[in-house]
């Protein structure tokens, strides 16, 4: 179909010498006019799914029409991939290729290459995907005066979880919120990620920052304190707030991890410091909040023992609800941020694979 469409779009094109007499007699300027695109860039799939640690191909193909023998050989085709941000004026450089030259940028270095399965293939392969790779990518192809772009979204499989620090509810400005997620082996969630989580049942009555700078919260069971009792379910939106001065919770996103998450079998209950040491002694680290959520959601991890986590909170993951262990729903149960001296809990550890 695409090919057929392209044939119909054959453009009428001509060049004429610049006829403006007032021009300063410098080199000849050729003015080009045309009626249709002569270069067409197409992404066969608008959305690609993967997960942290995975490899992915962002599809992009271009079709062009050689105008004349003289025109085609002069200009090399240039392919550039950028990542779009919530500010449409800002894009992040990812990769560029022209002729035999290749260049990748930032933390994409060493992880990206062109697929080049055919002459008109501009697809980009990203290996060892990290959480920050999530987002929308633009494939731009330039040949001579012509250019065109296509956009592909990279979605990651994972889990969204609300987070507030030991200080309590509504204590994070936007920048602190970003850091809080990173500290828990996650990134601040996008609206789309929160929306997907809401569609699969997330209900949380505290407003949190999202990556675009908005503050929202997902409600599946409308009730009075959460936007009104007689309202429809939805992601409630407070709008955009001052990133420095406004303080809320945050929604974080994390994906598969490359390691082992486990409850440490230990003869006694532990204080926070003892918990920290116990994991180290076991050749691991005390687990982070993102890791307990990823293990629970993506691996179905289930353990009815409250354990310390790195941020000083105590939680336990339940995927098979039963009496005394989150009887009504599968969830990561939150005990609180107890006094770190209390010798009342176990510990969850995480051992990274190399």
């Amino acid at each position: 179909m695409k090919h057929l469409l392209f044939l119909v779009l054959i453009s009428v094109c001509w060049a004429e010498p610049h006829s403006d007499n007032s021009s300063l007699g410098h080199e000849r300027i050729v003015r080009i006019q045309e009626n249709g695109p002569r270069l067409l860039v197409v992404a066969e799939q608008a959305k690609i799914f993967s997960h942290r640690g995975g490899n992915v191909t962002l599809p992009c193909k271009f079709y062009h029409e050689h105008t004349s023998a003289a025109g085609s050989g002069i200009h090399k085709i240039r392919i550039k991939w950028t990542k779009l941000t919530s500010d449409y004026l800002k894009e992040v450089d990812v990769f560029v290729a022209m002729g035999h030259h290749r260049k990748s940028y930032g933390n994409y270095q060493g992880r990206v290459l062109l697929r080049e399965s055919s002459e008109n293939d501009a697809s980009l392969i990203i290996t060892n995907i990290i959480l920050e790779d999530y987002g929308r990518y633009k494939c731009e192809v330039i040949e001579g005066l012509e250019d065109d772009t296509a956009v592909v979204a990279l979605n990651l499989e994972g889990v969204v979880f609300p987070y507030s620090p030991r200080l309590g509810r509504y204590n994070l400005n936007f920048h602190e919120a970003q850091l809080a997620c990173v500290d828990q082996d996650s990134v601040i969630a996008s609206f789309d990620q929160l929306y997907d989580a809401w569609r699969s049942g997330l209900d949380w009555c505290n407003a949190g920052w999202l990556s675009d700078g908005s503050v929202q919260y997902p409600i599946t069971k409308p009730r009075e304190p959460c936007g009104g009792k007689n309202t429809v379910p939805g992601v409630r939106n407070y709008g955009f707030w001052d990133k420095d001065k406004s303080r809320y919770d945050v929604f974080c996103f994390t994906s598969n991890f490359n390691g082992r998450f486990y409850y440490l079998i230990h003869p006694t209950k532990l204080t926070y410091d003892e918990a920290l040491q116990a994991c180290l002694k076991d050749g691991a680290q005390i687990a982070k909040v993102g890791q307990i959520f990823a293990a629970w959601k993506l691996l179905g991890y289930d353990r009815c023992d409250a354990g310390w986590l790195a941020d000083g909170s105590v939680r336990y993951p339940i995927s098979r609800p039963r009496k005394r262990c989150s009887p009504n729903e599968a969830a990561v149960r939150f005990v609180g941020f107890p006094d770190k001296k209390h010798k009342l809990y176990g510990v969850y550890c995480f051992k990274a694979y190399n």
Partner: protein, 381 residues
Amino acid sequence: MLTRIHSLFLCSMARATLSLCAPTSHSITPSPHTEAGGPPPCSPPHAGSSGTAGRRAVLGTPRVKWTFISEGREVEILVARGDRVKVSEDYRLRASLPIFHQRYTNASLLLTELRPNDSGIYRCDVQHGIEDGHDILDLRVKGVVFHYREGSMRYAYTFAEAREACAKIGAHIATPEQLYAAYLGGYEQCDAGWISDQTVRYPIHTPREACYGDMNGFPGVRNYGVVDPEDMYDVYCYAEDLPGEIFLETAPARFTLREAAARCRARGAALASPGQLYAAWSAGLDACSPGWLADGSVRYPIVTPRERCGGALPGVKTIFQFRNQTGFPDAQSRYDAYCFRGKERVCVNCVAPGWLFPWPGCTAGAWAHPARLVLGSISQW
């Protein structure tokens, strides 16, 4: 045909290193006698210029592309590479790169016949071999043309009175060029009005019964030609800058005209003139609250059209007493008030708590960025 050309240089450029320079913000007046802009000082670094000839042979010539971005929509203006340039149909007669073909390091864009809807963001992308760079610049075309009539009736001014009427409301009578630029920006008004050269004209995009003028079924600015200065018509005024701030005052019971004036005075201001409100509207003021103005008219500025705020078109909306669009409201009827305060006054609390937008006029050059009035912050202010 326009006899005068209002033009603008958008500057920028690059060479092998592809550093770009451009002023971050630029405003310009579409008035025939000011050629604002001119190529801003823009000297790309010439470091390492020796040996670029050889390099250029490898890299080819730079490619430059100018794009216009407004309300999130991107429109290509032109693309140039070497001695070839492709100008988009909409810009064919008014966009060019006057220097680029002599010096590839200067890709300044010349845009002529500026119109109000040229306001927005201009993006310049330069690509040279594997390298690229870009810069953006924010352009605001200042000034707004508006139709004006006194409360009482249609077609009530002689030419002399028309000039005076504009002056009285803080504006000038519009020039033919200004009216034409406004027309190109989408302005439509089926009322004949005086123009500065003693002609009588009106701008029509959608020809219809009673609005054909001298052009029958074609869109364009209708022109009665130079007419007897004692003939009576409405007037088209032009307002440019707002040397101060406009703010909306409200109260539960709203105000009569007299109360409105008193409220503005109590705030150290005065009722705004229509010219001031039009200028504020063209700078981005949007408020769905009809309010009193100094001439006894009741109006409100709409930038983002919505059904309940005067329909599908943006503009300064006027409340008339009669269905035929004449008559100002009774002075005893109740509306909000638009007040105007000169710039020299210091404002105390520039950012109302919890609101994102600084109050217009509070920071130097605030009008460089379209200010938006946030309803609801008014009472806190």
